[in-house]
Subunit: 335 residues, 4 copies
C-alpha cells in the first residue's frame, strides 16, 4: 500500500537515526545545559542572522501553546487567527484550556485576509471584551498554502502598529521556505517568534522554537518546565536539529516531498480542488472511485459528500518515484 | 571524566536505537492508532494481568501532571504527598499551574509515614478547605528508597477506604521492581494509575502511563491532546516500549545500574549518609575533597554545607565496571 | 435626564433596602448556613416543584462561569452557543480564562437555530477536537427576545439525546417569564441549571442559581468557594431573594418595565429595528437626531454607522410614566 | 443568645443601609464609570497621599486571588506566606486553582519571621523550581495580631531588595490601623497593593482594593472582568465606601469592637491562650464548661482537644456593653 496519508508516518530519516547511534557513546548534561544545545543555539543565531534564543520541544501543539502563553501575559489577552487554524480546530481546545480566547480573522482560503486585520482589531473596544494580543498564522497553512515574504512583512508591520505580536506556526515551515524562496533569516525578520518543524519532516519528534523578540526571552526555561515542555534529555533534540540544519539537510528533505508532489499534480491536475503549493494536494473524486482505490493508497478523506468527496494526498521526505508513479496509475484507472 | 551525575545522561541504549533503525522502512498511522501501539497495549495488559490502558508520554513532569489531572476532576481536589516529592519541589509549580493544591503528608525520609495518612486526611473538614483526592508517591523515591509490596498494599487500602486514588510516579519504577522483588502485576494491583519510566533507563524519551482503575480510562486521549501530551508519532514510543518490555530488557538495564552501585557502595560505605537501596548513593565528603574530585567525576552536590557537603552518585544502565573502579579509586584517594 | 441606558442603573428597589433595614438587628451565621438561606432554598423548591438546590451569587459573569465549570468537568469539554452570547462577547474571555472553548451554534437573530444543533454537534468527531458538553442560551436574549416554552422543550430534548447539559443564563429571566407566560416550574423542567437574575431587576446585586440536575449538585459549595463565588454574608442575598420571590414581587417589577416599554414602542414603532419582546428596544435614528437627544436621554449606541445609527432603549423596574412620555416627546421631535 | 462567633454576622451597620436608601432615587452609570466611584477614587488618593488606584470587590477571597494574579504574571511565579494564611488554609485552594504555588515562610505565631525571608527566597535556585514573586501577609492576622509600622517597613524593604511585591490582605485592616496607630497613608507607603475590608466591619459586602505600585495599575479592569470580580452596580460599593471613609466612620466601628474586646479580656485574662491585640480572643476552657455555655453564647471552637479546647470570641462593630457583660458572667460561671 502506498502511503500518502500524511508527512509524519515514518519513524525518521535513517540518516538521523544513524547519526544518533554515532553519538550514543558520549554523556551529556540534562535539561539543555549541554554542548550540543549550545552549538544548536549558535547555529540558529547564525542562520537567523539575529541574536535569537532557541529551544527544542516535542511536538506542534505543545509548542503552539507554550509559545502563545509567553506572549499572552494577561488572562484577557486573545489570539487572532483564521478559523481553520490548527490551534482552533485540531488541538482539542488546548489553547482555551491554557486560558485564552481565540478570535477570528477573515480569511481567503486558509490565509489571513490582510486587509481586514486592523478592522477586526478595532472591534474590541473595552474591558468587557478581550484584548487582541497575538496574530497567529501557520506557514505553510493547513491547506498547504504559502505566505509570500511580502505578505509576511505586511502582517508583521500591522502587528507592530497595533502593538501585537506575530507568531508563526512552522510545523511545515521547511515547505514554505522551499516554495516561498526565502530563508530562516527572512522569517526571523518578520515575526516575534516562530518554530521550525521536525516531526513532519524526518525527525522522530521535535520542533525548534525560535524567539526573536527580546521581550519574550526572559526566563523562558521556567515557562517550559512549568508548562510541561522541558525535555530532560534536551541534548537528543539538539543533536538531531544540528544534523537537520547543517548543510540544509532539512531543505533537501522538503524539496523531495515537493518534487514528488509536482510529478503527481502534473498528471492529476484535472482533479485538483485548490492550487497545489507545497506537499499537499486536495482532489475531488467520486465516492465510487474512492472506494476502488482506498485499499491501494492510504490517504485521508478531507470532506465527505454524497456523490463525490475530497481526498487529501501528502508527499513526504521519503516518498519515492515508485510511490508517485503507482499512485498516478491507480487514480487514473478510476477517475 | 566519569559520569555519575544522573541516569539520564546518555542518548539511549544502542540496542534501542538499532531497533528503531530496523523498523524505519515501514509506515505507521499517527496518534497511537497504529499496530505497534496496539501490540504494546496488549503486552502491558499481559504483564499487568489486568485490563489496563496504556499510553507513552514524553517525560516525567508531563506524565505526572496529566495523570493527576485525570484524577483531580474538581478544582478543589488536592494531592497528598511528602514535601520532598518531585511534583512539589522540582516541577516549577507545574501541578499548581494546572490548578491544584499539594498538601503534605508526614514523611520518614522520602517515604510516606503511613500511620499519619488518615489523620492528615481528616484535618480537611469543610468547603473552606480543599478535598484530598489523590495520594501521590514515587517508587523508587527521590532519595532512591523503595516501598515494599506490603507498604504499597497498606497505602492502597487506606486510599480506597478514604475514597481517594493512589498514583505512583514510576520515573524510576524499574529500580523499585528489581530491588523490591515484585512485578508490574503487583504494582497494577496496588494503585489506580502508575507509570513505568523509560527516560531514566536507556530510552531517548518516554514514560509508559498505565491506567488500572476503569473510572480513569474514559476519553483519556482527549485529555492527552488537550493537555499537550499526545505525540503525533506515537508509534515511535510504542516500538521502543515493545522492545523495552520484551524479555524484560528494561529489568536487565536496571539490574546493571544496581549491580554497579553495589560495588561502589561496598567500597565507600563509610561515607554514606542514607542506606543505599537502588542506583543512588548520597555521600558525605569534605569540601576540600569534593574540590579535588570534581574534575574527574561528574556528580551533583545535593546539600552544600560550610565544611563538608553531601554529593549524590547515580549509576546508570550503561555504567561500566571501569567507571566504578576508577570512581572508587578517585574518592578513596581524597576521603 | 431620562435614563434608559439599561436596567441596572439604580441602587435597588427601595422596598428591598427597607426590608434589609428591618432585618438588620438580627445576627446570622455566615457562608449560607443561616436560616434565611434555608428558607430561600425551600421556597425555591416550592416554586420549581422540584428538589432543586439554590445559591445566591454576586453577578452574571461569575454565575455563568461557575455554573458552566460545574458542567464542564473535562478540560476538553466545550460550550455551544450563538456567537452574540454574553459569555462570548462581553465577559472579557472569562469562560476561556476558566479553561473552556466556546463553539458556535447557528442563530436566528439572537436565538439558537434549533434545527442546526445536532448537525453542529456531529461535526466534532474525535480526540483532536473538543467535545460539546453544554448548550448555553440566555432568556431573554441579548437582544431582548424570549424563547417559547415549546422551543425550550425542544432544545432540552435534543440536549438529552446528545447527552449534553442545557444551561439558561437568566440575567433577565423575569422578563422572559412575564413575556413567555411560563413559570419557574416550567424553566426547571426544561434545563439542567439556570439562574434568576436580580441585579437587572431591582436588587443591589445578586443572581439566584438553581441546580435542577442531581448530577450537578454534589459539593457545589466547594466549587463556589474555590471559584471565588461564595459570599461570606450569604444571608444578605437570601433575605433579598426571599423578599423578591414572595408574592411574585419580582414579576411585578418586570411587568412595570415591560408595560412602560409597550407604551414607548407604541409611539415609536416606525423606528424599530427588531420587534420588541421585553424591556429592550432598538431604534434607528439619523446621527443628527441622535446628537440632538443625547443630552436629554441617556441611552446606548448599539451600532454606529455613517449616516444613521441604532440606539438601544431599556426600561427598568423603576421607569415611570413621566420618563416614557418625555422620552417619546423628545424622540418624536427629532425623528 | 450572644453572638461572638465572628465579625460578619450582621447584615450591615444601619447607618450604611439608611445612606443607601437616601441615594436610591438617583441613576448611576454601571461598571464603575459613575461619579460616586470617581469621588471614592479621589478620596482614597487623598487618604493615601499617593496617586493610587482603587476598586471595590465583593469579598476577601476574590480580592486576594485577583490582586495576586495581577502580581503573578508568570505561571511559575509563587507566593510566600506563613502556613496559617487564609489563602493557604481557608480558601479551598482558590490560589492554586488560579494557577500559582504557595510556598511557606517561617512564622512566629501568625506573623512572618522577618529574619527568615531572604534565606527562604534564596532556596529557590533554578528553573526546576518556582520563582518567589510576592510576599503575602494579612494585617491583622488570622489570630488577630497586628504588624507594627516598623515591621511592615522592614518587610517591604526586603521585598524591594529581592524584587518582589508585598501584598497586604486587609480583610481586618481597620483593626490593625486602630491598634497599630498608623494610617492608610502609612500602609500605602509600605506595600505594593492592599485592601481595606468592609465585610468584616459593617458593610453588607465589599473590600476596597488599593493599588499603590504603578506597574500594577494597567488594564486592571480587564483583569477584574475576566477574573469575575467586576460588579455591574459598582456605584453601590462606591457609595458605601465613600460613607465608610468619610469622617473615619470605619475607624469608629473598629474602635467599638476593640473597646468591647478590652472589657471582655480584662475579666477573662486568665483563660487567654494568646495575647489579645484586636477584636479576637482565644480562650482555653474545659469541654464541660464549653458544653454549658454553648447555648448561651455563639462562638467558634478553634481547636478541639480531649479535655479542654480553645474557643474563639470575636467582637464586632455592633457588639454592645450588654453583650460583653453577659458574656463575662456566663463564662465566669463555668470557668
Amino acid at each position: 500500500m502506498i502511503n500518502l496519508r500524511n508527512d509524519y508516518s515514518s519513524i525518521a530519516s535513517k540518516d538521523v537515526l544513524q547519526h544518533l547511534l554515532k553519538k550514543a557513546d558520549k554523556k551529556y548534561v540534562g535539561y539543555g545545559l549541554d554542548n550540543e544545545t549550545k552549538k544548536l543555539n549558535q547555529l540558529v543565531k547564525l542562520k537567523c542572522q539575529k541574536d535569537v534564543d532557541s529551544y527544542v520541544l516535542s511536538g506542534g501543539t505543545i509548542t503552539n501553546v507554550i509559545a502563545l502563553n509567553k506572549m499572552l501575559t494577561n488572562p484577557y489577552d486573545a489570539i487572532m487567527c483564521v478559523p481553520t487554524s490548527h490551534i482552533n480546530v485540531h488541538e482539542s481546545g488546548a489553547i482555551e484550556s491554557s486560558g485564552h480566547k481565540i478570535i477570528y480573522l477573515p480569511n481567503i482560503n486558509g490565509k489571513i485576509d490582510i486587509s481586514k486585520i486592523e478592522e477586526t482589531y478595532s472591534s474590541f473596544i473595552d474591558f468587557h471584551m478581550v484584548k487582541p494580543r497575538v496574530i497567529y498564522l501557520s506557514n505553510s497553512t493547513e491547506l498547504g498554502e504559502v505566505y509570500s515574504l511580502n505578505e509576511l512583512k505586511k502582517i508583521y508591520s500591522i502587528a507592530k502598529k497595533l502593538k501585537m505580536y506575530l507568531f508563526i506556526d512552522g510545523a511545515r515551515l521547511p515547505q514554505a521556505l522551499v516554495k516561498g524562496n526565502y530563508t530562516l533569516k527572512d522569517i526571523a525578520s518578520t515575526c516575534d517568534m516562530f518554530y521550525l518543524g521536525g516531526t513532519k519532516l524526518g525527525l522522530p519528534y521535535g520542533e525548534l522554537l525560535i524567539i526573536v523578540n527580546d521581550e519574550l526571552k526572559k526566563d523562558f526555561k521556567y515557562l517550559l518546565k512549568n508548562k510541561l515542555g522541558l525535555l530532560s534529555k534536551g541534548f537528543v533534540g539538539a543533536i538531531m536539529f544540528n544534523y537537520y540544519l547543517e548543510n540544509d539537510y532539512y531543505l533537501s528533505l522538503a524539496k523531495n516531498s515537493q518534487n514528488q508532489m509536482k510529478k503527481l499534480v502534473k498528471e492529476l491536475k484535472d482533479l485538483l480542488v485548490y492550487p497545489v503549493e507545497t506537499n499537499q494536494a486536495f482532489l475531488s473524486l467520486s465516492n465510487i472511485a474512492i472506494n476502488k482505490i482506498k485499499n491501494k493508497i492510504d490517504f485521508e478523506i478531507w470532506e465527505k459528500n454524497s456523490k463525490s468527496s475530497i481526498i487529501r494526498l501528502v508527499t513526504s521526505f521519503d516518498t519515492t518515484n515508485e510511490d508517485v508513479t503507482s499512485c498516478i496509475k491507480i487514480i487514473k484507472s478510476v477517475a
